[in-house]
């Protein structure tokens, strides 16, 4: 690796001390005089018309400031009662009808939470039930009842500019990819594999539930403190929803207690803003865990995948992917598009057909979840790829290697791939688990097997990150960025990149937390995009500061500024370190006064070539890819169906690792979380009613699920335009876990699981079916 001073070093987190002492600021710690608290009455019906709301008794309760209905919100002057990042379909409070069990209907703001909850008990709502749409495949049919009569595009993001208004269908968005002639490939095939894989809805479960505080300041500006991954978007959404100029809104985000995609776009902010505007008091709404389950989920997905084989080679693949986006589209269309186009895998397949559908149902809305939908499609394609290899007698590793794209070859979208370490990642994973050596036979009821899987995600493109770097006369630096620190280590990453660029020590860099009054626009803190996009932005902004300072010093020393470098907190002549000065002296040379600043601003805005709407073909569909591979050895208890992970390796191609230990930590955390999602996590609905919406009933990965042997492995295939060659890593570890485990279970037992989660019950049932079939033979 090139000669870097702090990039590539595993420096410690910037925020460690305040976090380990518990002194860290969260929105839930902020109190204001006269602050009101919120409780919300939610729909008990999956789909119903609101016929009457009686709230006068609730309004008379002492301590209640307001009891608010959707009809009243709709009458607020200049207010659009619906919001959303793809379609403006989600009501601040339900106006005429409710669309899922848990949909917010009436909000109370009161002096404390208990008073607000007591008042809610006195609100009466009458409903007239409507036919509910609960099954995603049935919802896609033309004869299905409709969740929404029409779909109104939000026009908030460049990558969703092609989303069209729609009506008379629950399919609010469809992505199509057509490459070659799939029909011909299937007609000429020796053998066709056809399988359906399902993934259930699940909950992000950030330990800090959503919380938002809104107040009007002395200038009557709307001030929002919120646990959000999207400060810039929240400001835009509040501006559009309430008809307020952007500079009359200030959004600030302290550290988040986890996000994982749950805290993207607008959630509580529109409602709490409405309550603050009406009451003229500070209002805070903190969701309970039960409400969190009713706010946002991971998409349930049904993926049908057909693959044709001729002369032992893959000739075609057809994917139909059905995404249950719930009652409101949320960011479903982006997921259906960006993940949809990767549904056939990172493989060289001459004929590909993909239909990816975003479908409304009367269930809890689904949105981004660490991995952005890609884990669901890899679950399908890399389970099936394994099945095909084993069925035709090929080695599953060699089979994948044969088809995995090489540098410069075209993805199914027609885009040549760059910095595409999928083969390297797969090889590392296979070597770690010693894939070529079969598992040792251990006992007749505890069967062991090995599995690998690989896959790739493409970063959201186009998107935008702006940053300002302000260097102070004492050589310290303030970085103004709207990237949200939610645990991933973004502050540390930015600090390392700026310190490297300006030649100052890491501890001299302070990262200013997102504040839309001072930090520039950033599309989103998500999708593994911040290291590349914000990393480039802060690096370029720092470079502008360096240019200004070097010009001043160059004039003074009578040397070409291009011959100067910044190193060791100095500005000096390259190769002649004696000739130069401290940063403090350089500022004095430029300004002659103490306490001055130099500011640089930059925007990183990668573009994509628009996809052909009929074929999904594009010369450039993404700025970078991040390949993933997982290998595992499992032990299947054939008497209980329980799966034990004996070895677990998570491999990611991160590009240059800015902070290797933190990259490993991202792989490890996302892989263990996805282990839970693979083996037991599932939101269970009965007629649209969530039946396990509490942590008493919903299980997530705990200490007991940590495998005996777990190792993250970083592969570094540098990206030519990444900051110092870096890409992204936040989601990589999630991508290939489920398929690797199912493939290992098959290796151990010969049974194939096609539905997540892989519960002991499912394993036992599959084992029983297999022995039944064996008896009949």
């Amino acid at each position: 690796m090139a000669n870097f001073s702090v990039v590539g070093q595993s420096v410690f987190r910037k925020d460690a001390h305040q976090k380990v002492t518990g002194q860290v600021l969260h929105v839930g710690n902020i109190e204001m005089p006269g602050m009101l608290h919120v409780a919300v009455l939610r729909s008990p019906y999956a789909h119903a018309r609101i016929t009457r709301i009686e709230k006068s008794r609730a309004e008379k309760v002492a301590g209640v400031a307001v009891v608010l209905t959707g009809a009243e919100v709709a009458k607020m002057p200049g207010v659009d009662p619906h919001f959303g990042p793809a379609f403006r379909d989600q009501p601040i409070l339900c106006v005429e009808k409710v669309c899922y069990v848990g949909d917010p209907v009436v909000a109370v703001a009161a002096v404390d939470r208990r008073t607000a909850e007591d008042a809610l008990q006195l609100v009466e709502v009458d409903y007239e039930p409507l036919p509910a749409v609960l099954d995603v495949l049935a919802a896609a049919k033309p004869e299905s009842p409709l969740v929404h009569q029409q779909h109104r595009p939000a026009k908030a993001f460049a990558d969703l500019a092609h989303v069209k208004a729609g009506q008379k269908s629950n399919i609010c968005y469809q992505f199509k990819l057509r490459l070659g002639d799939v029909d011909k490939a299937f007609a000429e095939a020796d053998r066709v594999f056809e399988d359906t894989f399902s993934s259930p809805p699940a909950q992000h479960m950030p330990l800090e539930p959503h919380v938002t505080l809104v107040y009007l300041d002395e200038a009557q500006r709307i001030n929002i403190w919120t646990a959000s991954q999207t400060p810039s978007y929240v400001r835009t959404e509040i501006s559009n929803t309430f008809g307020v100029p952007m500079n009359r809104i200030r959004v600030r985000i302290p550290y988040l207690g986890g996000g994982y995609g749950a805290k993207l776009y607008a959630k509580l902010e529109p409602l709490v803003t409405a309550l603050a505007l009406i009451t003229k008091k500070p209002v805070r709404y903190a969701l309970t865990r039960e409400e969190e389950f009713l706010t946002i989920t991971k998409h349930k997905v049904i993926a049908k995948i057909r693959t044709s084989i001729k002369n032992g080679e893959i000739t075609g693949r057809k994917c139909e992917v059905y995404w249950d986006t719930g009652a409101y589209a949320e960011i479903g269309p982006r997921i259906v598009h960006k993940s949809g186009y990767t549904s056939a895998g990172p493989y060289r397949i001459p004929n590909v057909w993909i239909d990816s559908y975003c479908i409304y149902t009367n269930r809890v809305p689904a949105g981004a979840f660490r991995g952005f939908g890609v884990p669901q499609v890899i679950w399908a394609y890399d389970s099936q790829t394994d099945m095909i290899a084993r069925a035709i007698g090929a080695d599953p590793l060699e089979f994948r290697m044969r088809y995995a794209l090489n540098e410069g070859e075209a993805f199914a979208t027609g885009t040549p791939v760059k910095s595409f370490g999928v083969k390297q990642a797969l090889q590392e994973a296979a070597d770690a688990v010693e894939f070529s050596k079969p598992s040792e036979k251990h006992s007749s009821t505890k069967l062991r097997g090995k599995g690998v899987a690989c896959g790739v995600k493409a970063v959201l493109t186009p998107s935008i990150s702006g940053a300002i770097v302000m260097m102070n006369a004492d050589g310290t630096v303030n970085v103004l960025s709207s990237t949200v620190e939610m645990g991933q280590g973004s502050e540390t990453m930015m600090g390392q990149i700026v310190a490297e660029e300006l030649g100052v020590s890491f501890d001299k860099v302070h990262i200013v937390q997102p504040d839309t009054d001072i930090t520039p626009y950033d599309t989103i803190t998500a999708g593994s995009r911040s290291t590349y996009h914000m990393g480039n932005a802060v690096r370029m902004a720092a470079g502008k500061v360096k240019t200004v300072l070097c010009e001043a010093v160059g004039k003074k020393l009578e040397v070409d500024p291009d011959d100067l470098e910044m190193q060791n907190n100095r500005v000096q002549v390259r190769g002649n370190e004696e000739r130069g000065m401290s940063i403090g002296d350089a500022f004095l040379v430029k300004f002659g006064s103490a306490g001055t600043t130099i500011t640089g601003e930059a925007i990183c805005q990668p573009e994509a070539a628009p996809m052909d709407p009929e074929t999904g073909q594009s010369e450039k569909c993404t700025e970078f890819w991040f390949p993933s591979a997982t290998s595992v050895e499992v032990e299947v208890d054939t008497e209980t169906g329980k799966i034990r992970l004996l070895q677990f390796y998570s491999v990611g191609d991160t590009g240059t690792a800015i902070n290797p230990r933190h990259c490993e930590q991202q792989l490890l955390g996302s892989a263990i979380t996805h282990l839970g999602l693979t083996l037991f996590e599932e939101m269970i609905f009965d007629e649209g009613q969530l039946v396990n919406g509490s942590l008493l009933d919903y299980q997530v990965a705990s200490f007991k699920d940590l495998p005996d042997l777990f190792r993250p492995i970083i592969v570094q295939v540098p990206h030519e335009t990444g900051p110092f060659g870096a890409k992204g890593v936040g989601e990589t570890g999630t991508l290939t876990v489920s398929a690797a485990i199912a493939n290992a279970i098959h290796d151990a037992t010969g049974v194939r699981i096609r539905d997540l989660p892989i519960t002991p019950e499912r394993v036992l049932r599959a084992l029983a079916e297999k022995s039944q079939a064996a008896k009949q033979d």
């Binding site: 925020d15 976090k19 509490s694 200490f703």
Partner: protein
């Protein structure tokens, strides 16, 4: 109903009036502003509101304040002065056992209790003891290493 109680919180004796319905979590956060005590689930299942009651970890969301009358409470704020770190906290930083860190106060206190009860736990005993503290960033491997590092520091 209102009632007067006396608690020793972080070495300070406090007497005050509560409502019978108040949980220990509500009292610690709303009255005393111990913000390290955080509500994660409200049903005693996630461990983010863990405090030590007479040295034993409890989920403060699941303990009525009245039940704590006459007892001793330790929150993370009482573990160190905020400047110098307790050996467990040092281990947490060194082994990078935190990301979003919403779970950290609960984990650190549970580990304090664990290592006092059992200064030399096996891996399985650590897992068993900490099963009630969830980390959704899922840094369990880092946390396990931090427990080991803390053990070394405390026995030194």
């Amino acid at each position: 109903m209102k009632r007067d109680i006396t608690l020793k919180i972080n070495q300070r004796v406090e007497s005050f009036t509560i409502d019978d319905a108040d949980t220990l979590l509500e009292v610690l956060r709303e009255r005393f502003k111990f913000w390290s005590v955080r509500e994660g689930c409200g049903v005693g299942a996630c461990g983010t509101c863990t405090v030590l009651l007479d040295g034993k970890p409890v989920s403060s969301c699941f303990v009525l304040a009245a039940r704590a009358d006459g007892h001793e409470i330790l929150t993370l704020e009482g573990l160190s002065d905020g400047e110098s770190l307790h050996p467990i906290q040092q281990a947490w930083v060194e082994e990078r056992a935190l990301q979003c860190a919403y779970c950290t106060p609960g984990f650190v206190l549970s580990v304090k209790a664990l290592l006092e009860e059992n200064p030399n736990p096996s891996d399985d005993e650590v897992r068993e003891y900490l099963v009630g503290n969830l980390c959704r960033c899922a840094g369990y491997a880092d946390i396990l290493r931090a427990v080991r590092a803390a053990q070394v520091k405390l026995s030194a």
